[in-house]
Amino acid sequence: MKALVTIMPKPSVLDPQGAAVAEAMKHLGLESIGRVRIGKVVEIEFPNGVDEARLHEVARDLLSNLVIEDYTIAIIAGA
C-alpha cells in the first residue's frame, strides 16, 4: 500500500517558479494556459497498512506548512 501526499502552495502565495515555467511553456507553443503552480509529491510506502490519522498529523506538521501550503492525501491500495 502507498500513500501520495501532494503539497501545493496556497493560491495567495507567490509562486515565481510556477510563473517562470508557465512562460517557458508558452514559448514552447502551449499558449492557451492559465496560471501554473508547482508543488511536490511525497510517496510513502506502507507495507503493513496505513494509519491515516497519524499520516494526516505528519502531513500537517512536517510535510506541509499550512501558512503557505495545502496538502491532500491519496491512498493507493495494492500499489
Partner: protein
C-alpha cells in the same frame, strides 16, 4: 557577569562561527556553541539560531531543524521570556516552529541574493532595536534564496497593530519602495518579533556587519540592543 549567548549548531548551519566570533568581540558578551542534539540551554541568557542550510534545506527551509531535540528547550526558554533571535535560516526555523508568525518562501526573482542591503528601523522600542533610532538606516548584508516574507492579510494586520514589524528593506533615503525590496517580502518586511517581544527573526545578517573590515558595523546596533537593560 557577561550576557551569555547560546549559538545553536544544526547540521548545515554555516554562520554559527561568525555569530560566536562577532558576539564574543562585543564587551559584556560571551557566546558559545550548543549542539542541536543537546536538550538544554540552561545557563544562557539568550539563544541565537544562526544562518545556514540546516538539513540541506530539504522539504522546506527549517522544516526538519524545528524537530531537533534542542528546539524543545528553545521553545520552553522562549515561553519563559528568554531572548531568542533567528538570523536567516534561524528566522526560517522560528517560523516553521510556530515561534514567529508567517513563513519565508522563494525569492520573487528566484535567484539566491548575496549583497549589502539597507533596512530601516521601524520600532526602536524593542529588545532588538532599542540601541537604534526610529528611521535609522542600517547597512546589513543578506544571503538567501528563500527570504520572501509571507503572511496572510489578517496576520499582517496583527503584526502592524502589535508593532511587531521591526525592520523593512529601504533605499538610501530610507524610503520603503518596491525597488528596494530585494526578495518580494510583503510590505518589505526584513525582521519581526513575536507578540510577547522576546523572540526575533530577521533575514539580514548582523553578525556579518560587526567589523569595519567587512564594510559595515551597523549590525552592532542590533546586538547591543539586546545588551541594553
Amino acid at each position: 557577569m557577561p550576557m551569555k549567548f547560546a549559538v545553536i549548531r544544526f547540521p548545515g548551519s554555516n554562520c554559527d562561527q561568525d555569530c560566536v566570533h562577532s558576539l564574543n568581540a562585543i564587551p559584556g558578551v560571551s557566546a558559545d556553541y550548543v549542539w542541536h542534539k543537546d536538550s538544554s540551554v540552561n545557563g544562557f541568557d539568550a539563544v541565537v539560531l544562526p544562518g545556514g542550510f540546516s538539513y540541506g534545506d530539504y522539504l522546506r527551509c527549517g522544516a526538519i531543524a524545528r524537530f531537533s531535540p534542542v528546539m524543545e528547550a528553545v521553545k520552553n526558554f522562549a515561553s519563559e521570556g528568554g531572548i531568542v533571535i533567528g538570523i536567516c535560516n534561524g528566522f526560517q526555523i522560528l517560523c516553521e516552529s510556530g515561534l514567529l508568525p508567517g513563513a519565508l518562501v522563494r525569492n520573487r526573482g528566484l535567484h539566491f541574493i548575496c549583497e549589502h542591503t539597507r533596512v530601516r528601523v521601524e520600532r526602536p522600542n524593542s529588545r532588538l532595536t532599542c540601541a537604534a533610532a526610529t528611521g535609522q538606516i542600517l547597512n546589513i548584508p543578506i544571503a538567501h534564496g528563500e527570504g520572501c516574507f509571507f503572511a496572510d492579510d489578517a496576520t499582517l494586520a496583527e503584526l502592524r497593530l502589535n508593532q511587531q514589524i521591526l525592520l523593512r528593506y529601504c533605499d538610501a533615503q530610507g524610503r520603503v519602495t518596491p525597488e528596494s525590496n530585494p526578495n518580494g517580502s510583503r510590505e518589505n518586511i526584513a525582521g519581526i518579533r513575536n507578540a510577547a517581544g522576546n523572540v526575533f527573526g530577521l533575514m539580514p545578517h548582523p553578525e556579518r556587519a560587526c567589523d569595519p573590515v567587512l564594510g559595515s558595523t551597523d549590525g552592532l546596533a542590533l546586538f547591543e540592543s539586546l545588551l541594553a537593560k
